[in-house]
Symmetry: C2
């Protein structure tokens, strides 16, 4: 089997396609978000679904994050193995096997999980009792995204009451995700709608307080909305994740963070002057939020991605010297799904490879 490249090699000596992260840009992004939360009432619990990489989660914690957020049990398992002890799984965990894995984690560290269903609350409680585990629980409320979450108001209150009465579960508060608002371009409209959405959580929290169920934690937010969300009482925790890498989509919304993630490719064909083809297609880059952007030539743009090929149109062929074997880097349009295609991150500093970090929490579905 091939070995990985040694530390210190130049970027141009890496084989492709490879996922690169610029270490300095990554650390500046982590520091900038940490600085933002310093002295504010809400805290940062960054979402690890973006990077799925314990080395980055540990950097976020060392910088001052209060814990991490995961999308699923498989991610949380990897983070616990890496020594992380305070994790929110920001989804409902269902089915006997997954609930068993979750309670196993809850025996080892502080696990918090979202629920939106009364039968699930009972199933979690029973599993925890059988294992002698305790789970901290947030009730997920639909604040307008229309995906998961129970309706705000009386339905959420009733579910919170069920949680608080269930053995081995500890009702801690509410979660809402304004995923439908994180990419709203106009900052004023974004702010107005985010405040409206979290107003629903505030009203629900007030109803809970009135019946003697105080809400300690309210979790929400993303990279597109962290500044407003953190200023929407009773929000206590913000789940932003993409800020570590950014991408062409988020750069249009949050210019204060830098793109740190790129895909390194090699030209495999330049069959005619106005077309070049690289060795990264749909199996190496994603396109659900738009085409990845080639960085080395203004005149180049992706026409399409097939499975293993990225096909570029060159509008000024004479200005682009690419020949087969030359390198082209791309800025992804969606960092989270792009990372999910790779097994490792090549960490780059000053044009050289510093380390290779396993994307250890990918592919942990089964």
């Amino acid at each position: 089997m091939r070995k990985g490249p040694p530390s210190g090699v130049l970027v141009d000596q890496l084989d492709t396609p490879a996922l690169l992260v610029d270490l300095d840009a990554l650390e500046r992004n982590i520091q900038k978000m940490t600085d933002f939360f310093a002295g504010r009432p809400a805290a940062l619990r960054p979402h690890a679904k973006t990077h799925k990489c314990p080395q980055i989660a540990l950097r976020q914690l060392r910088a001052g994050a209060i814990g991490i957020t995961c999308a699923k049990v498989g991610e949380a398992e990897v983070m616990v193995e890496a020594g992380i002890t305070d994790i929110l799984i920001a989804n409902q965990v269902t089915g006997e096997i997954k609930i068993d894995r979750l309670t196993e984690l809850a025996r080892r560290c502080d696990m918090m999980v979202a629920v939106d269903d009364a039968a699930n609350v009972q199933a979690l409680s029973q599993a925890c009792r059988a294992k002698g585990a305790t789970l901290r629980v947030l009730v997920e409320v639909d604040i307008g995204m229309g995906r998961c979450g129970i309706a705000p108001g009386s339905a959420a209150v009733e579910l919170a009451r069920a949680v608080s009465g269930a053995p081995n579960l500890q009702f801690l508060g509410l979660m809402g995700y304004e995923g439908h608002l994180v990419l709203v371009k106009d900052p004023d409209e974004r702010e107005r709608r985010v405040r409206e959405a979290f107003g629903l959580l505030r009203d629900t929290a007030n109803q809970l307080a009135a019946i003697g169920l105080p809400v300690e934690i309210v979790s929400g937010g993303g990279t597109g909305t962290y500044d407003v969300t953190s200023d929407c009482p009773p929000v206590t925790e913000v789940q932003a994740g993409s800020y570590v890498f950014m991408d062409s989509t988020y750069c249009g919304v949050r210019p204060e963070f830098e793109p740190s993630l790129t895909v390194l490719t090699t030209v495999v064909s330049r069959p005619v002057p106005e077309r070049a083809v690289v060795d990264a297609g749909l199996k190496a880059m994603t396109k659900e939020l738009g085409w990845p952007r080639p960085l080395e030539a203004e005149a180049a743009s992706l026409r399409y991605l097939s499975e293993e090929h990225g096909v570029l149109d060159l509008s000024a062929p004479e200005a682009v010297s690419w020949r087969p074997g030359d390198r082209v880097r791309f800025l992804p349009s969606h960092c989270c799904t792009t990372v999910n295609l790779y097994d490792s991150l090549h960490v780059i500093q000053d044009g050289r490879l510093v380390e290779v970090w396993p994307i250890a929490a990918r592919g942990r579905s089964q």
Copy 2:
């Protein structure tokens, strides 16, 4: 670390999301394609990019395939490690590192590779000489897809001449891929256009024969076109791959094969009667050829996929009993890119797990 599930468990006891292949359907598809090629002048060299799985490649070879096709060096390395000795890499291999890996393989077994560039021919020749290896070479000709490949006619003839004069390279013939035609719905139109496209290869082959460069191998074709392509002299080899798994897209074009590949998911939320959410989003299913299709309920259809969620609209909510924890299987819309998201294939027979096959050739980019 978690262990995999034991052989013999019921499908419903598998954790999710999981990629399932029905062993009987897979074997019927392999047998049907083998039977088609029996006694025909063209032979089957199935494309392994679809499954990236040595266990399936070995089944195809045992059934009668003459070798396999790979998209890239990383796939070929895995197949060689599994004992496969006759491989076409159906793309140009560029850059010093990849060419070095290719020549390493060429020392160990019969490697054939595509070229469309004179400088690449020289680079391959030099690398082979340095290693004492020999590479068999096909000139890739653009037969209308507009991706890779040199123009048919005199340009292709000139490149073939360069290959035949290059030390340690053996000119064997031509390759063309009619990727722009494999999904044409109307069979008559598909046939007419495929015959036109391979007419370009026939003319080029005739020109080569006229200058004393006989064309031994002509490779092309896919699952959408295998029947016509195999009947287009001088085609000698067909690269079909998707027929092993099929998907909702190919089922509309080639009903003679069965869908054998599904994604098993779990309902994580049913927040309102008319909506259900499963634990498989863009990181577990692909959508570039359309939405994956839920199999268990007529009234359900995907509205969208976010990263970790598949959101389903239920047009007749009362007819769908799904609750959190229930299972839903999906038929992918594109088998090749879906397989690329998983590390292993769960092989199912009569509703039980038989084996787990690693998708060993995925993630081998760097």
